[in-house]
Amino acid sequence: MHNQPEIIYDKQGNAHVIVDYNDDYIGAKLGFWLFLFTEMMIFGSMFLIYAFYMFQFSDTFVQYSATLNVKMGGTNTFILLVSALTMGLSLVRLRQGNVEGAKKFIWATIVLALIFLSIKYFEWSAEIHHGIYPGSPTLKSMGDGAVMFFGLYFVITGLHGIHIILGIGAMIWVLGLVRKGKITPTKFVVLENTALYWDLVHLVWVFVFPLFYLIH
């Protein structure tokens, strides 16, 4: 609305900029960080439930951790690592003025995220094929510890998967904004926030992976 920043003067005559609420870069970023805090609390409380039952059923947790597919999980870890890099580089490219390069890196991230999801899909189908899914009779017969371990496994990785899907949605939306010229090398806060979101998704996986796949 206001293209020129509004300025007022105090008694000593020093100039002070009035922050325009319609176009406030730091505000937008701060708001997004606050949103990330809520995500942090959500996953934080899921890990709290994990820790609670891990303490109670530690032997079972170790036992069933060994049955998870470390190869698939490990591959996914690397995929996410690379995707976080490509997402970061897209921001670097955009700020250097290279819009096309930025778009390419966003596409690369989307492709990596889709690969992540399909590996996850195969992993889950294998487990569901064996009759292991929340509420299944097989799982019930494996005992309380197994119910908790796989319950947590499906809920946390599922929640993480939903975040990946939302992230893909956000990136496609960002690409649309870039095409419409709403994201430019000087107006990049939406892309930066999306990158922050993607880093959080990665961050969660950094903890999910060892806690489920590597404690045996």
Partner: protein, 113 residues
């Protein structure tokens, strides 16, 4: 004008990303290798794995998420929130630990007294 403001806030370079990426990769390899090389008790495995995870988390938050180059405000808020989460964890840990010794405190007092 605002662009200058932002540039001043956090200049970002591709080289930083690549360096951090290399560090993260090596840490990840470490986590994968650990169970193969060292067969440890659960507690030790957990502490090694979580230690590496926290190092990775620090790298991501500090460099990928630009906290290193942001204003102190962001840092204070993050540390504050993490501290609250941490205290909640500690309180829950105390309860979880003692839950299976009924009348924990008073039982201990009785034994001593």
């Amino acid at each position: 004008m605002e662009l200058h403001q932002n540039e001043a806030l956090h200049p970002i370079k591709a080289s930083t990303y690549v360096t951090v990426f290399a560090l993260l990769i090596s840490l990840t390899v470490l986590t994968l290798v650990q169970p193969l090389v060292l067969k440890l008790a659960l507690a030790s495995t957990l502490s090694i794995q979580l230690g590496i995870a926290f190092m990775k988390a620090f790298l991501i938050v500090a460099y990928y998420m630009h906290i290193k180059s942001n204003t102190p405000l962001f840092r204070v808020l993050i540390y504050g929130s993490l501290a609250i989460l941490g205290v909640i964890y500690i309180i829950m840990a105390i309860d979880t630990y003692y839950r299976y010794t009924p009348n924990d405190l008073f039982q201990l007092l009785q034994k001593e007294g």
